[in-house]
Symmetry: C2
Subunit: 422 residues, 2 copies
């Protein structure tokens, strides 16, 4: 009976009833003989409400102070959760990120964990107590200021603590039953995945699956921490994310799932002189503007003109900044025009097994073709194929591909308990 | 131009507008050439709302976790205030009680400050920044746990920081214009006091004046920190609380003011055997129950019976516990009965000058008599006379005494800006 780290998201602790329900689940785990460390997010909409308040006093709040403000959210939920556990007759102590030894760099609002020194957590466990830790927050190594980890930060806190404490498993509780072969809100016959490897999970997350963020999966892969994604509203086994044991006991699926993402926009740089260094100048300009790009596609240039087109996708929220950055270098690079399109969607097929199954790409494109979906961009990795289509075609495309690869369940089993999957 | 510590209460920072107004006032002080340290309470009703939440999950929340919960309140207000100041073009940094070096004992919910080590505040000031510090909270020396200072804690934080930083003045901003000769809600002609010594202010606070709590005044007296109590809603000079300079430049009023208090109840122990040690046994029983008693009165015993009555007052909230504690020892001590009365009020006349003016007591009782107010208990100190009356007589008694000592203003000058004076 080893140490279990459990992480509960904001929708699981949205009100007093939710907190009491989570407390009972934690106590059950403790009574089963485990040491228990719990990572908790802020209650329900607390973080959004605090951001609203900040914007009322300052349109662009200072990063250090925004972190100080937002970390009040987990302080509230973790203290209430510790009280609720004590009410059930068990000892619990809450710890801030700083008290739990979550040491980060100094980049406010999106700090990275650089060390975890959980001495106080270890002491609490040795005393037989349950430790409740604030997710999403840490303290900077250099300035001793409070930091936050950005989107998905609480999941990363949980995995990082699990690694530092040598936990048996990191359980991520959410409002769905696990990771599905496609978004259950789009594909009624999506199936819950029982087991999935880190690589496949990482590609699914990067391709738009919302259940786990890539950052947290990366951390778990690096330290080989098994993650169990499961629902806090049911007692069901969820999805195990872990590497196949030596010897390969874990069955290797050809395809793990279909992910989609409609949060990106497409930028096309038209008429780029086809000579060495031009692409580099384009992407240097975009990178200097701090924009994260996703897919990049360049075709062969037309022989008649010596010009080529380069397309890339980036989050819609950063699209206009990308255009502005490129307009500044248009004259120097000498491309003809810029096109911006935010009515696109991306569909990705992920599976480590596709390495050894050459027919996968053909089946994927046939399915899209039969569904009448036009493909605008294509990008592949060793275990993923992604295409960009019109945004309005995304749902039909996901369903067609899901069916074509035999992923459909016999029943409509997917259950969404509410919330947005975060 | 020295260092100024300013403290703003919850009603001054109740919403975004309040925070912006306070930010402008802080910037004005900075621009006048002062170093500025600001201590801030939680916004408006935040603390009460958090206590409500706690009670929803646990009727008697654990002290450590309640402190963790409540300290989220100042975290929110101080971060927002720092943002609002930056919006006005000045540099500000917020600090938790722990970061500000407020070291306390380990008594959760009513910790006492045992040291202040404001190294980070000093560094922020040296960089030319404005430091915003969370009131009401600290960190325990032994366990490094978060603590809160209990009622009036933010005022105490401000005075303690002012002492540790050798401030020129500690300004306490509230929703009234200063300390008045009586509660302006009871006496329309109450006058604002321009200057008052620490001893008088301490007696007024102990006697029920709500503007400053005794604990904060005691701290200021010990370290000789001048306090300036003033309104955050007006630009007026308020009340200076400080000792007369050597040589006595400060005019010594005979009477500083009239305080009243209707928050206490009276307990009478009837028929106590009049022999040594009986009173001690009674008050030991009450003290062991953790009850703070205020006035104690014992009259001479009736010669015929050898029995006496002992009365004391204590907060109404603790009255029933006092009765329960005494009932447990009734048989051992052998008193006849207990009487409990929560329909009482206390009126106190305070003034260091009364030492040298023997007519004060007579004038006080004459004023009460002429107002038809019956006196039930009397208690005096060197610079205070207090009486207990019926609760319904308190307002008339305060007005009569205020007039009798010539404290009435020529005009109805007292202005209350809203809130409860805290």
């Amino acid at each position: 009976m080893g140490l279990v780290v459990q992480k509960y998201g904001g929708s699981s602790v949205a009100d007093a009833e939710g907190i009491k329900r989570v407390a009972r689940r934690i106590v059950d785990t403790k009574q089963a003989g485990h040491e228990v460390v719990v990572v908790v997010s802020a209650m329900g909409d607390t973080t959004d409400e605090l951001i609203d308040l900040a914007e009322q006093v300052s349109p662009y709040p200072a990063g250090r102070e925004l972190d100080m403000l937002l970390t009040a959210g987990e302080r509230i939920s973790m203290a209430l959760l510790a009280m609720a556990i004590k009410e059930l007759g068990h000892q619990a102590q809450s710890f801030t990120g700083s008290q739990a030894g979550v040491i980060t760099d100094s980049v406010h609002n999106k700090a990275r964990i650089i060390d975890v020194t959980p001495g106080r957590i270890r002491t609490a466990l040795d005393l037989g107590n349950i430790a409740i830790v604030a997710g999403f927050q840490g303290v900077s190594q250099d300035t001793k200021d409070i930091t936050t980890l950005g989107r998905g930060g609480s999941d990363t806190t949980a995995v990082a603590l699990a690694a530092a404490l040598d936990a048996e498993v990191c359980e991520i509780y959410t409002d769905v039953d696990g990771v599905f072969t496609a978004d259950p809100r789009v594909v009624k016959k999506a199936r819950k995945i029982d087991q999935i490897g880190f690589d496949d999970m990482l590609e699914l997350a990067a391709a738009g699956s919302k259940v786990l963020l890539a950052r947290c999966v990366e951390y778990a892969r690096r330290y080989n921490i098994p993650i169990h994604v499961r629902s806090s509203f049911s007692g069901l086994t969820g999805t195990w994310v872990r590497n196949a044991p030596e010897g390969g006991e874990m069955e290797q699926a050809i395809i793990s799932g279909v992910a989609h993402d409609t949060s990106e926009a497409k930028v096309t740089v038209v008429g780029v002189p086809d000579k060495p260094g031009e692409a580099a100048r384009i992407f240097r300009a975009v990178a200097d503007a701090g924009i994260n790009i996703d897919m990049v596609v360049q075709n062969v240039s037309a022989a008649s003109t010596g010009l080529t087109d380069i397309s890339f996708t980036a989050p819609k929220t950063e699209g206009h900044r990308a255009i502005a950055a490129l307009e500044q270098v248009q004259e120097g690079i000498g491309f003809e025009a810029l096109r911006y399109d935010d009515q696109i969607g991306k569909i990705s097929l992920v599976g480590a097994g596709m390495r050894s199954h050459p027919g996968v790409t053909a089946t994927f494109f046939e399915a899209l073709s039969q569904a009448g979906v036009n493909i605008e961009l294509i990008s592949t990795s060793e275990i993923r194929i992604s295409v960009v289509t019109r945004a309005e075609d995304v749902n039909a495309a996901v369903q067609a591909v899901h069916t074509a690869f035999g992923l459909d369940s016999d029943t409509d089993e997917a259950v969404v308990y509410g919330g947005t999957g975060r």
